[in-house]
Assembly symmetry: C2
Homo-oligomer: 334 residues x 2
């Protein structure tokens, strides 16, 4: 039942030329082909509905026209927007995007990175929580370029690894400065333990101590609402409550919001709450959450453009680091 697709051979026969000529014409080598032949071949191809077989192509050229997008967890509301950004430019250049979830675990991150060396993809764009620059060496030197999405400027050593980052530390710093500007003096932070949120805590601490405040950080194992809920409960038991809570990400902030609500604490009147990421739920909760936006879509676009440039050999050597902007979104929770 499977209809055989037309091959270059079929086109060649119909056009009365050799397969090699068809190959030339269809790969756009206008150079030395008379317009008449060119037209005849194009017509034949169109008539037969010819579509190149990418696997034959890949076998011949070792280029797969596929890139991997590796994120910790696609159900985390932060990543889909990033993916769409990546897709929009990759697709336009004829690349397929395949998505993999690493769960942010060292084993899986390493596994898939290695897997990308096995000739399945031409390049990788990813958010890695546990791997360091050195871990990418074999892949990058094996000819598969990697673009990392990061939360801080990172050194790449001599490895030609490209980084796109939003300066989370600065974002965090700005948020705390903003809270201080609104009159808050006692600001507590809640964050996940052992994840990539360290720089956000750093920014918080720096801003606070810079203005004479005392950092107070509560960590929880979970990066999500549950973790935020628990952390906020801890804070509520303090003898001297803070006037503001800054969460390392929106999910935790939302959890905190619930904890405060359940405890009968009004937001923002009694305690202000701020988050980080601007996930879509941030503006849907009540009160809508003040947060730091990162423009995931644009980050994805930039990352894909960088990768495409590498793939086309537009530049090589030297890793790069490009900073993307963040923006403080003021809503009702502060």
């Amino acid at each position: 039942m499977k209809a055989r697709r037309a091959t270059q051979n079929d086109v060649a026969q119909l056009a009365g030329v050799s397969q090699a000529t068809v190959s030339m014409v269809l790969s756009g080598e206008r150079g030395a082909i008379p317009a008449e032949t060119f037209e005849r071949i194009s017509a034949a191809a169109r008539q037969l509905g010819y579509v190149p077989n990418r696997f034959a192509q890949a076998l011949k050229t070792s280029r797969t026209m596929t890139i991997a997008c590796m994120v910790p967890d696609i159900t985390n509301p932060f990543y889909p927007a990033l993916m769409r950004g990546i897709q929009s430019v990759s697709e336009a250049q004829g690349y397929d995007v395949i998505a993999v979830n690493t769960d942010g675990s060292p084993e899986r991150e390493r596994h898939f990175l290695n897997w990308s060396l096995q000739g399945r993809v031409d390049g990788v764009i990813g958010v890695f929580w546990t791997l360091r620059a050195e871990d990418f060496r074999s892949v990058v030197e094996g000819g598969v370029p990697v673009v990392r999405i990061e939360s801080a400027r990172k050194g790449t050593g001599e490895i030609p690894l490209d980084n796109i980052y939003v300066d989370s530390r600065a974002g965090s710093f700005a948020m705390v400065r903003y809270l201080i500007g609104r009159g808050h003096r006692r600001i507590s932070m809640i964050a996940g333990r052992g994840g990539p949120q360290g720089v956000r805590v750093d920014g918080y601490s720096a801003a606070l101590t810079g203005s004479g405040g005392m950092p107070d950080v509560v960590l929880d194992d979970q990066f999500n609402e549950e973790g935020g809920y628990r952390a906020a409960q801890v804070i509520l038991q303090r003898t001297e409550r803070p006037t503001a809570i800054f969460a390392a990400n929106d999910l935790m902030a939302i959890g905190a919001l619930q904890a405060l609500n359940d405890a009968g604490v009004r937001v923002p009147e009694d305690i202000a709450v701020a988050g980080f990421d601007d996930i879509s739920a941030a503006r849907l909760v009540s009160p809508p959450l003040t947060t730091v936006a990162q423009f995931q879509h644009e980050v994805g676009i930039r990352a894909a453009e960088t990768l495409m440039a590498r793939l086309k050999g537009k530049f090589s050597g030297e890793g790069t680091a490009v900073e993307m902007p963040f923006s403080l979104i003021e809503r009702k929770s502060t």
Copy 2:
């Protein structure tokens, strides 16, 4: 710099056998190979870090070991969970999943469906808003099985197309019955115009008229919070306000929640609000939203299993239709 990967030839040489024998052994044909040779070849493969080239394989077998997951928009919080379900079973069977966004538009749905015929994927799992069974004929008959995720039992005609569906009409019916059970008599519905939400409105109307109520449906062009916000505003201007609003999806329900909040209407005391889908934000808003859950993850798993069965030739002919359960999630908004 690109290190050439070891091929079967390399393994064969190292093991002192022919390449064909290596192929046999490595594809698991234990049958007729002496343990000694088998061991020698495996050892050589391991030593060389041999990994099969999937493109050569694909070229030879016409099987790509890749499936396409086509959804309207991966940034819609409903789909990522579905995708993970699909991935978990596909990956386990050695298949890659590539994600495409159709935007729910006829052109793009058709485009990608057609594209899947071009030898790039072995099968398709998708949520289609505009295509009808007949549109899948060429693809399915071209040897690429398709599993549709639907919101109602659908006929497939004679086309061997598999459907996995949650009976949205019944879900909607159940929700309205529940509201009626809570004492509501005037229940309005808000929904998107021209999308796939018709069956939900049907269920609503059936339940309401069944108990002597009068359907009141407000449509908006947008399926999201904005649409829900506007629709709720319309309802608030009614001279006789309803006591409950049922939204065709959670995003619209959340928009309605905001409209009510902005208008100073208390939920659920003055007006109850219910949604549909149980997206993650549903339990994060205030008050948490009563809604109908669809277990996207399980639906994804089931869909992938169905596709895998088709791909392995476990069954053929006759399209199937499998119903998946829904569940009413009672929260504070009603």
